[in-house]
Symmetry: C2
Subunit: 366 residues, 2 copies
């Protein structure tokens, strides 16, 4: 079994565990920095190593389109291409086809679209999504799904989740026919904000026996309270022995809340994208109560002469070596070094948040 449950909290649904992948063991709950196109923007693999990132997330659609599978195959897989020796999870590409490609259209056997890169027509089938991820060498492969938007009628959500189930089955069949070994495969539960549809989707997918289950179609614009309701209704019914992945979440307090509702895995652009916009996170309260962190907008003029580190208790390369004044200066003069130093700090914040979360579960305070 790739997932080992180590502890269940007595005061919430939070869990401590380990996930074994081809490229190493990951302590859960964990957060995955986003390396959409084969790099966490501005960071080298060495930077990620110094940050002790346990895993990164890359994108099937983007890498398939550019540089293309032939290049990555020639490089010996995505790990070698990007010089990253830790685990990689790849999403299926479905979400990106919808958000980025032109004239996309769902048909029974996949998604037709016109690429924004080469202008050519492509068809992403459930089998193709698995095949691409097989070639990339992903440690965790995601099934092709339709990510429903918010709001979404119940009728549409129901039809859509059934399509996602059919695709999940077809993809898994391909995975078994190709005798893919070691690379884990996860199914994606849909059903929008409707608890009964979420349960239907989950029970259809769990009968297929994936290595883990993701919750998709959340964090797509719905109020957080709706998301928490879905989590509350669905996680108690999810298999306890399999990892649970809440896709695209989220803000620090949302991650803590979702952990308390039984989630083990997260990914989000927030720390890295916000870093590039000069929005930085400072930990205030390691007990994770209330508003336990502070947001700092480094471009504000108040930081012009502030020679303190971003966070004097932070051990990241940025806080150990540079002041707020220097970081602000780099942003004001548009030096990409500023983006990198900010990204390093925010990822350090998120990765340490997860460490704090794991410690809190271990000591029984979460």
């Amino acid at each position: 079994m790739p997932f080992k449950l180590i502890k269940k909290s007595s005061q919430s649904s939070s869990r401590l565990g380990q996930l074994i992948t081809l490229h190493g063991r990951i302590d859960t709950p964990f957060f995955m920095p986003i390396a959409t196109k084969g790099a966490v923007k501005t960071l080298s693999a060495n930077d990620l190593g110094i940050l002790k990132s346990q895993i990164v997330l890359a994108n099937t659609y983007h890498l398939w389109q550019r540089p293309g599978l032939n290049v990555i195959k020639k490089a010996g897989g995505l790990h070698k291409f990007m010089n990253w020796s830790g685990p990689i999870l790849t999403d299926s590409g479905g979400y990106q086809v919808f958000s980025l490609a032109r004239s996309r259209k769902i048909i029974e056997n996949g998604v037709q679209f016109t690429s924004d890169i080469d202008g050519q027509k492509h068809l992403l089938t459930p089998q193709k999504a698995i095949e691409i991820q097989r070639v990339l060498g992903s440690d965790i492969i995601m099934s092709l799904d339709e990510c429903t938007p918010y709001p979404c009628t119940k009728k549409y959500a129901k039809e859509s989740l059934k399509l996602t189930t059919r695709w999940a089955k077809q993809g898994l069949e391909y995975y078994h026919v190709k005798k893919i070994k070691g690379q884990l495969i996860f199914g994606i539960i849909q059903g929008s904000v409707y608890p009964d549809l979420r349960q239907q989707s989950m029970s259809e997918l769990t009968s297929l026996n994936f290595d883990g289950y993701a919750l998709g179609g959340l964090a797509v614009g719905e109020p957080p309270s709706k998301m928490y309701q879905v989590l509350k209704s669905i996680t108690p019914l999810m298999p306890a022995g399999k990892p649970r992945y809440l896709m695209g979440v989220g803000k620090p307090e949302q991650i803590v809340e979702a952990v308390k509702k039984g989630i083990d895995m997260f990914d989000c652009v927030i720390p890295t994208r916000n870093a590039r916009h000069g929005l930085l996170y400072i930990m205030k309260n390691k007990k994770l109560k209330g508003k336990f962190y502070q947001e700092l907008r480094i471009k504000k003029s108040v930081f012009t002469g502030d020679i303190r580190p971003l966070d004097s208790r932070c051990h990241c390369q940025t806080c150990q070596n540079y002041s707020r004044a220097y970081l602000r200066h780099l942003f004001m003069v548009n030096d990409p070094l500023g983006l990198r130093l900010a990204t390093i700090h925010n990822l350090s914040f998120y990765l340490n948040l997860m460490k704090t979360v794991r410690q809190a579960i271990k000591t029984g305070i979460l």
Copy 2:
């Protein structure tokens, strides 16, 4: 004496030496990466350390305007501000006032200009230029000069060099009055492409007894042959016991040629700016004969699937960890990591070129 001449070549005017600064000893001839605004664009001080850069060059005008002297003073000087513990040379700001500021006007006691940052009127005097560099904590302070453009009439060049001499004298007086210790101060020889004017400027400046002498007003658009003529006529007359700095030069073959004509110090945006445009340097012939290097435009489609390092014999972080295909991919998807990896490689090329040059002088082949 801060400069120690170790060897003079028997077959050219090239020299081997050491320059002692407050922040360390520098082997000459050497190249200074450009950290205009307090950072070599895209690189951290740690990156510069890994590259074994002996020194960096920062800009008086830019740092004065932004973040301003108060901030740098508060940080404890430019070294602490940018977290760089090696030597720093700062140019005087004169060149930038001319090329960047609005409504600039030379008057007898300095340059009046409207700042492109705050829209305010400022006056940069010879004394002010020294004072700014004193506060920055520069290891090598440059005198305020007027950098004449190319072409330039002999009449203008003559009047201008006399002004540069008056400014040099005033700046040096300020330096002595302020009892500045340890920070070296260099004079800048002007005189455009006129050998007699260059000699006049040099003899006026050497009588003032600076720690070193720069040749300014070259590499401003004149044909390289004209620049070499000036070097050939002037370097034999320059004091042998003082370092000689050719400002703003240049291409690899120009640096080698200038070393052979007796120059010890160089700075240029070429390696870093070209890196950011995807133009990379590959060493072909360590004997430095003929076209001893190759230029590689990484964005060309021929590199799409080229999984070799940029230069298999290069020891830089980029060549040790990444392929041409990955670097091209980063450029195609506009990831700033590409700019950083390219900058690291090109600076490694330039710094190793200087190492090769020093070795060639040592072994008597240059």
